[in-house]
């Protein structure tokens, strides 16, 4: 048994990725290839320290380890922000998830990003992201959480738009940033609100006050809803989920780390962190549960029709995040975080697998793949393991966590149980659809390496750019290629297994994808997580229900068999099904038209055109017109005043003065004269 982790070591977990960032920034450009090694080493060290933190936390039964707090901002009575580290069971679990996945992704990236002109920039951003994510988990003050919350948003923005010369990537980055910021609005207001009423930013103190009933019910409900808005933005819950599929424009390892395993789970983490507050307000709880259920089901349905393997995974991620939110909504706090824990591993595995496939075929379009089972055996096996785990087959990791959620849902909220069960079936279906399309059948040619085309267009636009454009094709091009069937599949040498730097993380991630479920075999995780809650908070007791477990195995199995029947054995034709359900199919293919709604109506029209435009028009025409019109009518009634003319200056003066008169009248009416 190790000693309890000292405070300096916990600080080191936070500062190691930052150190990596600094080293990479000051690395001589000739040594830029060392960036990957630096990042991997620093984050690997942070991983080892995180294990130590987990061990200490286990010894402490998950109760918070006490660290001294440091004054960061403390002046007068306005504001007092103390910074202290907080390591309890929840933190420890998250630390291990973040650092381990991040570490493996760095190794993978060294292979995946090899030769990219932005190699060092990529690892700098990745280090920044890891540091921010660790900061989000480690600090005890909700204000600091918000600061790092925005920082992970910023690094996600930088990484989605990493290949910023591609318009789709740039647009996706901006969209992700704005949509998540929309949720953050609620979060920030919640922070303002709770500070006004509780007078502190300290999370533990807020929890205690909430449990003690020192803060009004209404305030707590609004606070919880504000926090949930932030969480919904970051964890891509309906209706703020639209940014996540587009975020797949970023490099695939980024999608694996940020948009599958860690950052998107931050929303779930935040709600879990604030769980005692949610418990005090049942309205916020059931709202979170309903949104989670809606998200889980609707995203899984879209996943069924996507043809881009990365988008399938993206919708699967949204759906699983909905699952976790649903669990929190029914009070299954332990199950939610347990699912977050297992999901991080198998989803990262699946994303890295899709990156490996892309490395071989140059495309994410599943219609251009097929038969890869023979050429990429390791990728195939690990991908199947990830899928089985995601689909929740006994005894893989996903089974245990999913079963716990289902079991709790059965006990607390039946309608959510059925939603979750259907989602489980759909999940198995779309994952095995992807497997059959990708790894079975005949190889359908892949796509041309796009470097040629993209570099050609790039050189028109940005001659200094040394970016080769990465491996991933523009989705437009990919779809165009898909529309016109490839005539020369063997034009370039066929698909092949990826380099060992990429395969190794796949193999390493397979182990937790299989085994992570047993982490809770002795209720270890449960003890950790329950210990993290303050005194007085109640948690739903997870119990194993055999009936639920059997249902949770049969339903996904049906999904797999259906996928086999449609996409492999071709007993049922996919085309005829699509025709049969055309309205539904096109509704799903267009993602419920939400993107159109947001882009055209909300962002394009309402926000940009209508509101901004109306106000600009108001200044341009109405104000001028009103003054001119007034001038005209005055001129007509009294020719003496015909010199009343309005130009720019007078418009300004007249408007100012009339509002002045208006204000004066208002003052006179309102004040107790």
């Amino acid at each position: 048994m190790l000693d309890t982790i000292p405070e300096n070591a916990v600080w080191a977990i936070f500062f190691l990725p930052l150190a990596s960032l600094l080293v990479i920034l000051f690395l001589p450009r000739s040594q830029a290839t060392a960036a990957g090694v630096v990042a991997a080493l620093c984050i690997g060290a942070a991983f080892v320290l995180s294990l130590w933190a987990l061990d200490s936390s286990l010894q402490a039964d998950g109760h918070p380890l006490s660290f001294s707090s440091h004054e960061w901002l403390n002046v007068g009575d306005v504001l007092e922000v103390n910074v202290a580290l907080n390591v309890d069971g929840l933190t420890a679990v998250m630390l291990v998830v973040v650092t381990s996945v991040s570490f493996l992704v760095q190794i993978y990236s060294m292979g995946y990003m090899k030769g990219d002109g932005g190699y060092w920039r990529y690892f700098a951003y990745m280090s920044l992201f890891t540091a921010s994510m660790l900061g989000l988990i480690l600090f005890n003050s909700i204000l600091m959480v918000y600061v790092f919350w925005e920082m992970v948003g910023l690094s996600s923005y930088l990484l989605i738009g990493f290949w910023f010369h591609r318009p789709a990537a740039a647009a996706a980055a901006k969209k992700a940033f704005l949509v998540t910021r929309f949720g953050d609005l609620g979060f920030l207001m919640a922070i303002l609100l709770i500070y006004v009423h509780a007078g502190t930013f300290d999370i533990a103190a807020i929890q205690d006050l909430a449990i003690a009933g020192a803060i009004g019910q209404t305030v707590l409900t609004w606070f919880a809803l504000g926090v949930f808005a932030g969480a919904a933005g970051k964890s891509a819950q309906v209706p703020l989920h639209v940014w996540l599929p587009d975020a797949m424009e970023g490099p695939t390892p980024v999608s694996a780390l940020i948009h599958a395993a860690t950052m998107v789970a931050a929303g779930v983490y935040l709600v879990a962190r604030m769980f005692p507050v949610f418990q005090v307000s049942p309205d916020a709880m059931s709202f979170a549960g309903a949104i989670g259920g809606l998200t889980a089901l609707s995203a899984a349905m879209i996943g069924v029709v996507m043809v881009d393997i990365k988008r399938v995974l993206a919708y699967s991620t949204i759906s699983q995040l909905g699952y976790m939110m649903l669990a929190l909504g029914i009070g299954a706090y332990v199950a939610a975080i347990f699912h977050l824990f297992t999901h991080a591993f198998f989803k990262a595995l699946l994303f890295l697998g899709s990156g490996s496939i892309n490395h071989a075929t140059n495309t994410f379009d599943m219609r251009l793949m097929g038969g890869l089972r023979k050429t990429m055996p390791i990728t195939f096996i690990t991908f199947v393991i990830g899928s089985l785990s995601l689909a929740g087959f006994f005894p893989l990791a996903g089974f245990w966590s999913k079963d716990e959620i289902l079991s709790d849902a059965w006990a607390h909220e039946r309608y959510l149980f059925y939603i979750a069960l259907i989602t489980a079936g759909l999940t198995a279906f779309y994952m095995f659809r992807a497997i059959f399309l990708t790894f079975f059948g005949e190889y359908r040619g892949g796509a041309e390496p796009e470097t040629g085309a993209v570099v050609a267009t790039l050189s028109n636009q940005a001659p200094v750019s040394t970016e080769p454009g990465g491996f991933e094709p523009d989705p437009v091009q990919a779809h165009a290629a898909a529309g016109a069937p490839h005539t020369a599949p063997e034009a370039h040498h066929g698909p092949h297994e990826s380099p060992w730097l990429m395969v190794l993380p796949l193999i390493l991630l397979s182990f937790p994808a299989i085994l992570a479920g047993f982490a809770n075999y002795n209720h270890d995780i449960e003890h950790l997580l329950v210990g993290a809650l303050p005194e007085g908070a109640e948690v739903a007791e997870p119990t194993f229900r055999m009936g639920v477990a059997i249902a949770a195995t049969i339903v996904p199995a049906v999904g797999v068999i259906l996928a086999w029947a449609i996409y492999h054995a071709k007993v049922i034709s996919a085309e005829s099904l699509a025709r049969l359900f055309r309205p539904v199919h096109s509704l799903l293919e267009n993602k419920y038209y939400l993107d159109v709604l947001y882009e055209r109506v909300v962002a394009g029209f309402l926000f940009h055109k209508a509101l901004g435009g109306a106000l600009a028009t108001f200044e341009r025409y109405i104000v001028d017109g009103a003054v001119n019109g007034a001038a005209t009518s005055v001129r007509q009634t009294a020719s003496v005043l015909r010199y009343l003319q309005s130009g720019q200056f007078q418009t300004y003066g007249a408007l100012a003065f009339s509002s002045l008169v208006f204000t004066t009248v208002l003052v006179l009416v309102l004040s107790p004269l």
């Binding site: 600009a616 200044e619 341009r620 005043l641 009343l644 003319q645 130009g647 720019q648 007078q650």
Partner: protein, 103 residues
Amino acid sequence: MISLEHVLVVGALLFSIGLFIALSRRNAVGVLMGIELMLNSVNLNLIGFARFVEAPRPIDGQVFAVFVITVAAAEAAVALALAVAVYRLRQTIDVDRLNLLKW
């Protein structure tokens, strides 16, 4: 007997006339004259208050008025200089034709 009310009413009338001129004249110099009238109504008010209101130092209002007159003169100087510059460039000082900058 002239009371404070009389002074204030005359001041308000003067202010309104000045305001009207400032907002209706096309010529920049005319606008400026309107503003001068508004400033003069301020002076009238200040003097009136200094005369009628019980104050620790009644002279304050009068001093204020003298300063306002001075500043107004300086203001006219700056404005006329600007008007000359504008006229040289555009052969007009109509404020309604100064509309390059808008929206």
